[in-house]
Assembly symmetry: C2
Homo-oligomer: 543 residues x 2
Amino acid sequence: MSVENDGEKPTNNLVGALLVDLYQLTMTYAHWKTGKHEESSVFELFFRRNPFGGEFTVFCGLDECLKHIQSFSFSDDDIAYLKTTPSLMDCEESFFDYLRHLDTSGLTVWAMQEGTLAFPREPLIVVEGPLGLGQLLETSLLNLVNFPSLIATNASRMVLRANPAPCIEFGLRRAQGPDGACSASKYSYVGGFAATSNVKAGKLFGIPVAGTHAHSFCQSFISLEEVRELILFNKRAHNSQRLLPSVLEYRDALPTITGENFQTNDGELASFIAYACAFPNATLCLVDTYSTLGSGLPNFAAVAMALDDFGYRPKGVRLDSGDLAGLSMKCAEYFRRIQLATGREAFRDLAIVASNDINEEVLHHLTKQPHKITTFGIGTNLVTCQAQPALGCVYKLVEWEGHPRIKISQDLPKVTIPGRKRVFRIYGQDDRPILDIMLLAEEGIPIIGRRLVCRDPFNAQDRFCVTPKRVVALHSAVYENGLVSLHPDILTSRTFVKTQLQSMLPSVIRYANPDAYDVKVSTSLFHFLHDLWEKEAPMEERR
Amino acid sequence: MSVENDGEKPTNNLVGALLVDLYQLTMTYAHWKTGKHEESSVFELFFRRNPFGGEFTVFCGLDECLKHIQSFSFSDDDIAYLKTTPSLMDCEESFFDYLRHLDTSGLTVWAMQEGTLAFPREPLIVVEGPLGLGQLLETSLLNLVNFPSLIATNASRMVLRANPAPCIEFGLRRAQGPDGACSASKYSYVGGFAATSNVKAGKLFGIPVAGTHAHSFCQSFISLEEVRELILFNKRAHNSQRLLPSVLEYRDALPTITGENFQTNDGELASFIAYACAFPNATLCLVDTYSTLGSGLPNFAAVAMALDDFGYRPKGVRLDSGDLAGLSMKCAEYFRRIQLATGREAFRDLAIVASNDINEEVLHHLTKQPHKITTFGIGTNLVTCQAQPALGCVYKLVEWEGHPRIKISQDLPKVTIPGRKRVFRIYGQDDRPILDIMLLAEEGIPIIGRRLVCRDPFNAQDRFCVTPKRVVALHSAVYENGLVSLHPDILTSRTFVKTQLQSMLPSVIRYANPDAYDVKVSTSLFHFLHDLWEKEAPMEERR
């Protein structure tokens, strides 16, 4: 990684030092009062469970975290606000001086690469530095990792199910705010989506944008009079001509060609003609405003034949209601009949885009039945992650002044694994990853060809050996001395996700009953965890 | 409403003319090519179903919509981007000139007041103006209404269930991005929450902020040595003294006082002492880092007794895991025993804050069983609206050049009610709202004391009469000639929500099986809808 220091600001103007839970500030004050704020600390950011009932998570959000860390500072205005906050107004003046002069150049941050397939309890980000500062970053880092990772995971799962049909993100209108939308566009692209409808995200992140027209466009035309005079350059005749006469001729001829007789809606037909004259190379029509099979489909076919005569390649139709698989079959059959009857090659590979409440489950079932859908448009369920709208990353102190720290809980899954750790991905015979193992930082690294004992952190009897064929260290230093290592590039991250999914065991990434991917610990870490646990947990007196 | 024109920008920097689905731009181009972009149009923004299985929705987001509409324009940079977008790069140059010079001063916008209880199919916002511009606003207005309304509704429902215990929003870390978090803080406050943990939102919107400390704070202390020298001003003795000796004395005495003997965690106790010395007037301790009853509770009690001796009022405890109702009972009983044994009044009304995966259903059930929780802290389930993470508002063309427009669909709920409409809330005998009725704009308004026929829009036989005791028009002009009527004030909106919920029939707002609130149409509107529907729908040929 090359190093650059461009001081880029976070994409969202709401991100800054003040984007914290109040308790980060109250805790920092208490640490400051106790003289602990400069003590060395190590915090780890990790999740405890994969989302969506799956067995993997795509780690994302690092880019914005790094921009945030690098630009982290309290403005005078922020300080003035804090001083008036009832909870902080009694704090000593010099505490506010401390905040005012805080900067992050003393922090070192390690992280997994953006787009890494990650698993429960593995540190995604490790923050090492003064306790006060480390504490102040908790909430914002969690916010900046949770949703991006959730979206990228959701998107990658949908792409796996829809494969080989591409998926396009249509969720801006239903997203949780403007940033929810733009994050969704960005990280669903990283997760494997092909494009977004969100123009702002297209501009910000260089993502392909896609889209044609809505129902309201069809409704905005009322009669064919409105498009009577529209002309289009005829590439075969080399002159401009009105499109309408040719379209009407084909609409009249369609019942004979297809054997189906419908009274199609004139306003809808007018809207298709208007769209075709504006975008003759990209005429993809939404066909369900009035009746998919009874109006939209024949109207599109009439326009498509006229476009074909004019030397343009019509693109296809979009279905947005009803039984998508069944309708796609009927559309394809309709196109095939026209192709057979007229010999028009343009009708051989028309796109059939399907949208309307698609989610991973729908994709899973839909792609198991006969259908002719060529592209999926996915909105709400993708961008709000309806199946599980939050990822539960946490940020825990694992070391303080060289001492390992543990969080004990009555809920076993909430117990943290103490100490500064490193994670390695172990590859087996066929160069597939077979497990990840966490070691204490001082343990060194697993050696290729040398037998390694792997243990479950909480189940003493669950242990086995492997002999690694290849070992990849998942962490690298991404921020040091105020400098950010290369910001992740969106295309690199997208390719990285794809490559990892291809090499992952299919049983781990499948939809139904996936196998858990092993995350183990070394024998040293196992004993270290349990010794500390026993030391810290209060001994209950049963009576 | 007074009029002001402060030209405020939207809170979020991502909001702007480019925050659109691409198809808004392709449609606008097709309209522009057809010469239709300046034709008059009326769009309505509404939802089809109340969220969360409930029967009401709190309309929010108007404030940001108005800021967006007023500041709407394409920058040169935006235009340069659009020209390079593959889908638009073939558009004529003068189309981009049209975009560059677009402004919204020709629009008139009507809307319900921010915080209005709204019901399915009622126009929340009505946009009247040139077709091109009206179309371009679709996605951003939907984005800016959907999530705020969803959050305000979710929050108001939780407040209804938790009543009389206040609710505090703790969701920043799990929200869908920084803006998802700040919107959640703002609109949950409108919905009735008492405070947020999000300091940025506190500053931006003037919301009270709340919070104390996290588990990591307890973990960051390892021994009592760290707090041995901490001093606190003793308000009774009028001098500064070390707090530790007094705390240790009480920790030793607690088994005798309470009859329960525990070996509590020293690091945790040290952290509580540090917190108490920093915030002696606001010492509320998180008690489940090691063991709620075995360590956190006695440690807090020891600190609280010492604080009481020093003349400070300890605040209470926070529970963040386990059986919250049961633990709250045990905490209260523990405090009561101390109060009885020592006569300390400070132990009479200690706060017991409960957090950890609380949602509306949990609140509903929890508040039906014995508990002593005084405040609820709610995060993930509130801010991501886990029970239903998206509201499905839509934006439909209902009139074009004076002609009513309809969207027909094979799904009945997707059929739109055509024409420019006004909505009135009809109040009955006891001044409770009894139904809302939609009339065509030209029909005039319902008259107090005059019999009014109300019809279901889709079921001809569902009709009845009412004689209004009071009539409230739900729409007012909020944007005209480039001027915004008074921006909604967050406190006014919050009070408005509360007042409406108090006057609404309890059966409509209850948790289990709520009654639907009636939204009816006038006889004229009923016939108008069905005449147009029959005219526009294609007649199918059955064979």
